[in-house]
């Protein structure tokens, strides 16, 4: 077990945990009612939203809360997907165990990447994850008999009990997984782990002086994000029915990153907005957009990528205090809203506590001060 030395006030508080559970239950009720009113295809898409929300929430914890970045989350989706594909090919185990094994394998791959990449501050994790996302497809080419080559591996959707529509059953499984992950992440962030994540993001030196093991914290955050992505990938291929490298191009990693950035780095609620964008923009919205402007097929085929690229750039340029500042601002608003109205379908309140070091790149004021001192 990993021990982080933190003072007593930093121990897991009871209240946020209960609150997250409450939000989770409300969310479950909401999605139950919603899925019952939707067609089979719309349920398929709702399930995909839930699946991407898991991956985006994991990345959001890594980037928004811990201050690291992964440009290749798609690779971990692929790891989770292939794991469950192999499990289905070779033997039939309970779905819960299959998903847990998929999570464990992607967490292990994340660990292998994170340990060397987090030894130094710098762009190492970004570069290595990008390389991983580009490299993994080649592995399935090389060992095509194991990975199923171009055709990939076949996955079967889980059997639905009784007379429940199989698609709806699968959507429920995906939604339930997403809600469980978000409640767990919400609790994690309000625990001492969350505090040490934020402390490392705000100031590595100060965090290590306060007794936080910086490298270990960064590895944990990355492994968590990889595990989320692995679960997301495993759930995704239950819908699509096939695992092959074509399902996990670099653009998938880009979509997840853009969804996270737009939804708001560090907010778990934002993961849902990002996931909606990731599901609907590439498939439907971009085509309608291209048709509306009578663009040729080349433009239509590339519009999603163009929009996601533009989203990444524009959000970064127009959010004046950067990822961290925007996240903090958003967090503040969330807290104010939820405490004032006691309402809100926020699955979690990621950011109700103050950041560990206030003077470090806080609001716009200290930002300008820091710039001018330079």
């Amino acid at each position: 077990m990993i021990k982080l030395r933190l003072p007593g006030w930093a121990r897991l508080p009871r209240q946020p945990m209960l609150r997250h559970l409450l939000f989770g239950a409300l969310g479950a009720l909401f999605f139950y009612l919603l899925s019952n009113s939707l067609s089979s295809f719309n349920n398929f898409q709702l399930g995909e939203v839930a699946v991407y929300a898991i991956a985006i929430a994991g990345l959001s914890v890594l980037t928004g809360v811990n201050g690291q970045i992964s440009l290749g989350q798609g690779a971990f989706l692929a790891v989770g997907a292939y794991t469950i594909g192999e499990l289905e090919v070779h033997q039939s185990i309970n779905l819960v165990f299959q998903l847990l094994i998929a999570v464990a394998v992607s967490a292990a791959v994340g660990f292998i990447i994170a340990v060397p990449a987090t030894r130094l501050r710098g762009p190492y994790l970004a570069g290595m994850t990008l390389l991983l996302a580009l490299a993994l497809p080649f592995l399935s080419d090389k060992y095509s008999s194991f990975f199923g080559g171009d055709q990939g591996l076949i996955t079967l959707p889980p059997d639905a009990p009784g007379s429940i529509d199989p698609q709806k059953w699968l959507t429920w499984i995906q939604l339930l997984c997403a809600l469980i992950v978000l409640v767990l992440l919400g609790n994690l962030l309000s625990s001492r782990f969350g505090r040490s994540f934020r402390a490392v993001r705000d100031n590595e030196v100060a965090a290590s002086l306060a007794g936080v093991h910086v490298a270990r914290t960064k590895v944990i955050a990355f492994v968590i994000s990889a595990a989320c992505a692995g679960l997301s990938g495993a759930l995704l291929v239950l819908s699509t029915g096939v695992v092959n490298t074509g399902e996990f191009p670099l653009s998938l990693s880009i979509y997840i990153l853009a969804g996270m950035v737009l939804g708001g780095a560090g907010t778990l609620t934002g993961a849902w907005w990002g996931a909606i964008l990731v599901v609907y923009l590439p498939n439907q919205w971009s085509q309608s957009l291209a048709n509306a402007f009578h663009a040729n097929h080349l433009v239509g085929a590339n519009l999603a990528v163009i929009v996601f690229g533009a989203v990444l750039i524009i959000v970064m340029l127009l959010a004046p205090a950067g990822v961290q500042g925007g996240l903090r601002w958003l967090g503040h608003r969330l807290v104010t809203v939820s405490t004032v109205t006691k309402l809100g379908s926020n699955i979690s309140v990621a950011l109700q506590d103050q950041p560990a070091s206030k003077q470090d790149r806080g609001g716009p004021d200290s930002e300008t001060a820091a710039t001018s001192v330079d």
């Binding site: 980037t63 201050g67 690291q68 970045i69 440009l71 292998i112 990447i113 340990v115 060397p116 990449a117 030894r119 130094l120 501050r121 710098g122 762009p123 190492y124 970004a126 570069g127 290595m128 990008l130 390389l131 991983l132 580009l134 490299a135 080649f138 592995l139 080419d141 090389k142 590595e204 670099l250 653009s251 880009i254 990153l257 853009a258 950035v261 080349l298 433009v299 085929a301 590339n302 519009l303 999603a304 990528v305 163009i306 996601f308 690229g309 533009a310 989203v311 990444l312 750039i313 970064m316 340029l317 205090a321 950067g322 990822v323 961290q324 790149r361 930002e367 820091a370 710039t371 330079d374």
Partner: protein
Amino acid sequence: MRLFWNITLGGVAEGMIFASVALGLVLIFRATNVINFAQGAMAMLTTFIAFSVFGKGVGYWPAFVVALACGLFLGGLVQLVLIRPVQNKPPLNAVIVTFGLLILLEGLAGAVWGNSNRGFPAAFSQSGLVIGHTAIAFSHFDIFIVVAVLVLVVLVAALFRFTTLGLRMRAAAFAPEAARLLGVKVSWLLTLGWSFAAVAGALAGLLVAPTSVFSPTFMDLILVYAFTAAVIGGLDSPVGAVIGGLVTGLALAYVGGYLGGALEPIGALVMLIVVLMIRPEGLFARPTARRV
């Protein structure tokens, strides 16, 4: 044995290409602490522009010059419009901006030129040279690759060593505030640094395109290989970038030649992991600059 030498020669040519992209990455990283993940995509764009110019029938060399000129312009433009606003922000912002630019440019190129694979002309013959009576896996074009990158490296070295522009650029990179107090116009030199780096990238694009499939994503792998090379070289040493490029090119050539080409990207990943575990500061980093 012949296989070994052929692989080695191929590795040298590949390595020179990695070196030129890595050099661009390092020039930018050293000055602004940003890894330009769009370095490859910018090179892709300038190469596609050259492709269009070439298609107008103006011949290879004018298209070549146009690509380099576009690199000069594009690099400066990107720095001014996209990088300068995030320069004093958390470093993640710049990473996300350059990554966003990478896919934006690939999407735009796909929209204009299509996503299918094409062929790109080479300046010289690409069939192997014949020495005595044996053909070797090294062509006139490979010689051109090696010479072109060597010329680039010599020009960059001469710029830094013998010119006051290079002196000012080094000062702007090492100690921006001290440089400003000595009248050095730091912000404009950073823009110029991006321009020069993009020219190095544009050259790499022109050298890679004939030897691989030519599509909007053709520089993706080159970029991550160059990143590997730059990390091996220590990320802020231009000499290290060149040597790191050669090391990476050779290592990947052996992996590809003996174990199969599909393992090259995994080989690069393994190299990165090994280097970061054994010697995280790289082989040629400035000792003072990297402490955190």
